[in-house]
Symmetry: C2
Subunit: 486 residues, 2 copies
């Protein structure tokens, strides 16, 4: 039997829709014409790809030329409403005309064909590109930037900045001892640091050796890879709905803060920095309140530890603020904020100039970022600002959340712990078990909605910033229909 | 006094010159119109950049719009013959029309604006892009590829592949024990590996935490950063000219191989893999002979250790072979070969399918490479093949080497250890001390040649693959003139 999803939304929003302005031909509803997804063409192409490339995690093969707006097209011509968006990475929809314009610009062409070693031969226009894009979007008070190539790279260069900063503070001189200079060549102290980065249980910060040592999401991400003996602290496990469990949740956060301080005080090694996500995304979309994060900020300040906020997944508008940590109203900003994904460009923001080592060639590598990605980030930022997409995402998020409340309420306990209220479209909920979760994901996909899981039993929503009420209606209808079918 | 370099080459090669075909307007000689380089505009722009970005290593600010072919333009309008090329990364000259064509193609535009999470939603054309570019260029017998984002990323994902492979071999089952699953979440064995990667003294393999643990080039690259307790082995220190020191050099390589085997046999931890550069580039352009590399291959085979060849800097034609390790005629190919720089795309080649973990989400991250870079690599490869640029680079390299032999011979011992004979344009030599080396670099720059150092006292040449006899003549004249002036 062919499943063919029909337009479901009750009315078509043609006006006041930024999506409609960008994508006049965006599908009005998902189109599924194969028995299942991946369809036969996806499977055939993926099998071919598998002869040369690791394809064990493929959902389906996508046709990006035919994808548009909130809809991803697959190799078989199916068009799916995409609420996963390349693991939270498509800010402005597929084939956004403003980004195509940026991609075809002479500025972009030059950046692609003349890729510079930025720290040795920066381009005449790099400062302007940064200033009009990544820096215009910087969190309040953070006027400096380090650019890199991925979320892992962003976090690891932030760690390097933290280690160099803490050692410089201890050393109080610009020189190095002979013992440091020789021992470091053997990977030994005192030249090599024995300081540590503290991360949180269930946190995810990347997959290279330093970042993976701070990642605590799932065993499969870490098995068989050497890791630094760095500590982890508990992250609050909140109960939902929040308004029902206010006292218990406060107690849980106090418990975690207490343990956090106890780990700091008893750590055999100096903790150079902590890293924390505003929402632990890969680890299951675990939230905490401003109380917890302000507590972390107070304790790190008190103990001379740097606070790195990992906004790789939460950054760039999806939470209804440009940066998720703006929800906290911290009394002092974090020391570094890392970014990637929706900005395509990666790196970290900071304000303290001492986080930049005094000597050259310490925070250094061949590329030090990629101007072509910074140019794209500039175009992304300009459109987000011009079309008020953070505000509209906050609004559609509220609408979506209410719709999901209804579905969860009717689910007879199969869906629980709906979270992300007042957090834009950065919404998730739990399923009764992993098997049911996976069935829901597949049932939605076969009805034309591409959705992703996280943690052990959670479903997370990561639509574009052009996901509107009409898309929310389609999504909610498909989800409800999928659940009924199971 | 204004220095103004004049055309020096005795005749202008207009025909049989690929460079002239690509760049009919390429300068005939360097043009320097400022007192020194960086000139006033470079300095002003760099100071501005420094308010937001680490600019401590800037040589000068480049105007990539005005750069052409082998000539890099700076912010002041100077045009320098570039034999450093963004630390060995510009394969086909600045603003190469074939690359501009690729950059402006619809395929590129789609890759830029719809950047996929490749391991989950690969594009319909990714296999073709790989097949026509990166895989067409693959070393003999290496039919599989992992794509990543930088040389560091390439090496670290190769290390991950090595660790997973060696543990899988030991484990002989696809499952994991409860103890492995829990210990790894605390970064502890047995879930986290205590195996090691062995690298060589003076080797450079990147600057993230795993790759930096194998980097042994300079203390400043490593100070204050935690490192894994991984071993290093000596790398031969050859004497030049090679033909005069054949017996001593053989003895030195035998000594290094003996110590290498002794380290393997006495290592308290299992060595998962070794990593070695065909020419230790950052560490001073240190060469070894085929005898040494064949010895490494034999010993790694005998001891069940993987051999990773780091071709990040040596790869893609500059040595007069497409891959430098092809000079060795190994009896069996390396297990993995990593690449980046001149290919823009990064990653590693391999042939053994068991280097790909059986379970998904182990070798995994959001991007898993970047199709836009793979498209550029395809265009680069096609042009290299179509215009026989590896062969022409081998020829011009021989010409350049002979010219340098003359200059070194006349240098009264200020230049020594000329190396890279029969190694294309991948040529280097030593200066009497670091101070003299730096003066030579500056004197050449002020005469319109942009050149780079490496190691403690070395100068390395890393021109494009379109560096021809006419460029070599200009370079040799400038170098001779610069040395005379000191």
């Amino acid at each position: 039997m062919l499943r063919r999803a029909r337009p479901i939304s009750k009315f078509v929003v043609r006006f006041n829709s930024t999506a409609a302005r960008y994508f006049p031909s965006e599908p009005q509803a998902p189109i599924v014409s194969t028995e299942s997804i991946p369809g036969p063409k996806s499977i055939a192409i993926n099998n071919e790809l598998g002869t040369v490339f690791d394809n064990g995690a493929t959902y389906f093969v996508a046709d990006y030329f035919k994808s548009l707006g909130n809809y991803i097209s697959d190799a078989d011509g199916n068009k799916l409403l995409d609420v996963y968006c390349q693991i939270s990475s498509i800010a402005l929809g597929y084939n956004n005309p403003k980004l195509i314009e940026a991609a075809k610009s002479d500025e972009m062409t030059s950046a692609i064909v003349n890729r510079p070693a930025l720290a040795c031969f920066p381009s005449t226009n790099y400062k302007d590109i940064l200033q009009q894009g990544l820096l215009a979007a910087a969190p309040s008070g953070m006027n400096k930037i380090w650019t890199s190539l991925s979320g892992s790279d962003a976090n690891e260069t932030a760690y390097k900045a933290a280690f160099m900063y803490q050692h410089a503070k201890l050393r109080q001189t610009d020189g190095f001892t002979e013992e440091e200079l020789t021992s470091v060549m053997n990977n030994e102290t005192p030249g090599a640091s024995d300081m540590v980065i503290l991360s949180f249980d269930k946190g995810f910060h990347g997959r290279l050796f330093g970042s993976l040592s701070t990642t605590r999401s799932k065993a499969i991400h870490k098995l068989d890879i050497p890791a630094f003996p760095w500590p982890k602290a508990p992250f609050p496990q909140l109960k939902y709905p929040l308004e029902e469990f206010e006292a218990e949740n406060r107690e849980e956060e106090e418990r975690c803060l207490y343990q956090f301080e106890s780990i700091i005080e008893n750590s055999p090694k100096q903790i150079a920095a902590i890293i924390v996500e505003p929402v632990q995304s890969e680890g299951g979309d675990n939230h905490a309140t401003s109380f917890f994060f302000q507590g972390l900020r107070d304790l790190t300040k008190r103990h001379g530890i740097l606070m790195i906020v990992d906004e790789v997944q939460t950054g760039v508008g999806a939470t209804g603020k440009f940066w998720a940590h703006e929800h906290w109203n911290l009394t002092t900003p974090p020391d570094m904020v890392t970014f990637s994904k929706k900005f395509q460009a990666a790196g970290f923001y900071f304000s303290n100039p001492e986080l930049q080592p005094k000597q050259p060639y310490r925070q250094f590598n061949t590329w030090c970022g990629d101007p072509s990605k910074a140019i794209l980030a500039k175009a992304i930022y300009k459109e987000i600002a011009a079309s008020n997409l953070v505000q509209s995402t906050a609004q559609v998020g509220d609408y979506l959340f209410k719709g999901l409340q209804t579905i969860v309420a009717k689910s007879s306990g199969k869906f629980t712990n709906l979270r992300g209220e007042n957090f834009g479209t950065f919404i998730a909920w739990d399923c009764v078990d992993a098997d049911f979760r996976n069935k829901v994901l597949l049932a939605c996909r076969s009805r034309g909605v591409n959705m992703g899981g996280c943690g052990d039993v959670s479903i997370r929503l990561r639509p574009t910033l052009l996901f509107e009420k009409k898309h929310a209606d389609i999504f909610l209808n498909v989800l409800e229909d999928a659940v009924k079918s199971l």
